[in-house]
């Protein structure tokens, strides 16, 4: 099924040996750097770095091929639509005007717009390998403990861990119910009208949701009976101590932060790298 694409696999590489906390924090730090900066050089550097890590963690490309295709389609679509709505947004951002050619009065192609759109594309794409690495190399049960050690309250962390635990169950149940209903002639495909489709979807999701509600009762009773939430703190089976490799990872990530801030403050005077001045 579709769920297979995205699954944890046990290996012994540098990335796998890192603690879940480290990976989570590094992923967040780097994605915030990429969110902050609009300097294509830094983004390309981070992109290259994350592709290197991707190689290092021995995730097979086959495992993620579908995602990558989907993503490329999405990015291309976003590019076309951005151009359609604001063909000169780049000029507004960079403040200069270098025309290359024009389709008509409104749709001109300028160097600034091309540069802006390419930068944006890189911005979307350069942390993707990071996200994949994080999810393919972190044990789901370690994930909750990492969240807790990254200062998320443990009840919140536990909610995430429950989500990851029950997602496959609910997905399987969804497929079962949807097959059963389709066998009874309930159409959820694009052939049905939108309203019919909404109604038919409801026939599938209401049993799903109500059985989930029953499960909520069952699980929460079981947890209450075992004394969940009695103390303000808890320990985790899957917690790993931080080691030298984790320190190295943090140093690398923080040096990216420092680089981005240095560039923004001293070199480019702001988030944008402007080659046109």
């Amino acid at each position: 099924m579709k769920l297979k694409m995205f699954s944890y696999n046990e290996e012994n590489t540098f990335v796998h040996r890192l603690s879940g906390v480290t990976k989570l924090l590094c992923f967040l730090i780097l994605s915030f750097v990429v969110m902050y900066t609009y300097d294509i050089r830094i983004m390309l550097l981070i992109g290259a770095f994350s592709i290197y890590l991707f190689k290092l963690s021995r995730i097979s490309f086959k495992q993620v091929r579908f995602l990558v295709m989907y993503l490329l389609f999405f990015v291309a679509l976003n590019g076309v639509i951005t151009y359609f709505f604001e063909p000169t947004h780049g000029n507004m951002l960079y403040g200069t005007y270098h025309e290359l050619f024009r389709f008509n009065d409104i749709y001109v192609v300028t160097q600034e717009q091309l540069f802006y759109q390419v930068s944006k594309m890189v911005k979307y794409m350069c942390v993707i390998p990071m996200g994949l690495i994080f999810f393919c190399t972190t044990n789901p049960s370690e994930f909750a403990s990492s969240l807790n050690h990254a200062k998320v309250p443990y009840k919140g962390a536990y909610a995430v861990s429950l989500t990851l635990r029950y997602f496959p169950d609910i997905a399987r149940q969804f497929t079962d119910i949807s097959n059963a209903q389709q066998a009874r002639g309930i159409d959820m495909s694009a052939k049905a009208k939108v309203m019919t489709r909404l109604k038919n979807t409801l026939m599938v999701i209401s049993p799903l949701i109500f059985s989930a509600l029953d499960r909520v009762d069952m699980i929460s009773n079981a947890m209450d009976l075992r004394g969940f939430g009695k103390y303000p703190k808890r320990t985790w089976y899957t917690y790993r101590k931080l080691g030298k490799e984790d320190a190295l990872a943090f140093v690398v990530c923080l040096s990216f932060v420092a680089l981005a801030l240095y560039m923004a403050i001293f070199v480019t005077n702001g988030r944008f790298y402007n080659p046109f001045i």
């Binding site: 604001e86 989500t163 997905a171």
Partner: protein
């Protein structure tokens, strides 16, 4: 459900399972719309439904977790502006928890209350939070993000309104009403 508790084990488990449901529906049940990045999301109806049952913290967190995990699994990195907007919409929809009491059934008054709150939530999240964050983080052109926002607000309000209301009616009819037992 007499006492309206904000943070119990039940609410926590509901958040976890709700987020899993949200994730499944987000991934497998979408009806695409003409504007990129938006579609008819049945998932928000789940957020509204759980919000009415378990409170704003539950629905806010479940929408946030569900959306963040969905993005992370889809592989394009987490689209924080929309993830946060999802959380906000869930949080506001959860206000109906304090306004609706299922012991009296789920009649016209409750339906209107739920839908007013739900529409406000969607407008705030998709017309204010999401576009503003999109501009701040990704420097997207303003009119593009606002058009996307208007679409998202309309689509989500419709799907939450239709599906969420029907779910709540079904839920209320399963509940035992107050005073339904007669003394003989």
């Amino acid at each position: 459900m007499n006492k309206k508790e904000l943070f119990s084990t039940k609410m926590l488990v509901a958040t976890g399972l709700g987020a899993a449901l949200f994730l499944v529906l987000f991934k497998f049940v979408t009806i695409p719309s003409p504007i990129a990045n938006t579609s008819f999301q049945i998932a928000y109806a789940v957020a509204g439904f759980f919000g009415a049952l378990f409170g704003p913290l539950c629905s806010g967190l479940l929408a946030f977790i569900g959306h963040a995990l969905n993005d992370a699994m889809s592989g394009w990195g987490i689209w924080w502006s929309w993830v946060i907007a999802s959380g906000v919409s869930g949080l506001i929809m959860g206000i109906s928890y304090f306004k609706i009491n299922f012991e009296n059934g789920f009649g016209k008054k409750e339906i209107i209350t739920f839908n007013v709150i739900q529409v406000i939530a969607n407008v705030v999240a998709w017309l204010i939070v999401a576009p503003v964050l999109d501009i701040a983080i990704y420097s997207e052109p303003a009119n593009l993000v606002f058009v996307q926002g208007i679409w998202a607000a309309i689509m989500n309000a419709i799907s939450t309104g239709v599906v969420g209301t029907l779910l709540l009616v079904a839920y209320a009819s399963r509940q035992v009403k107050e005073g339904s037992l007669d003394k003989e």
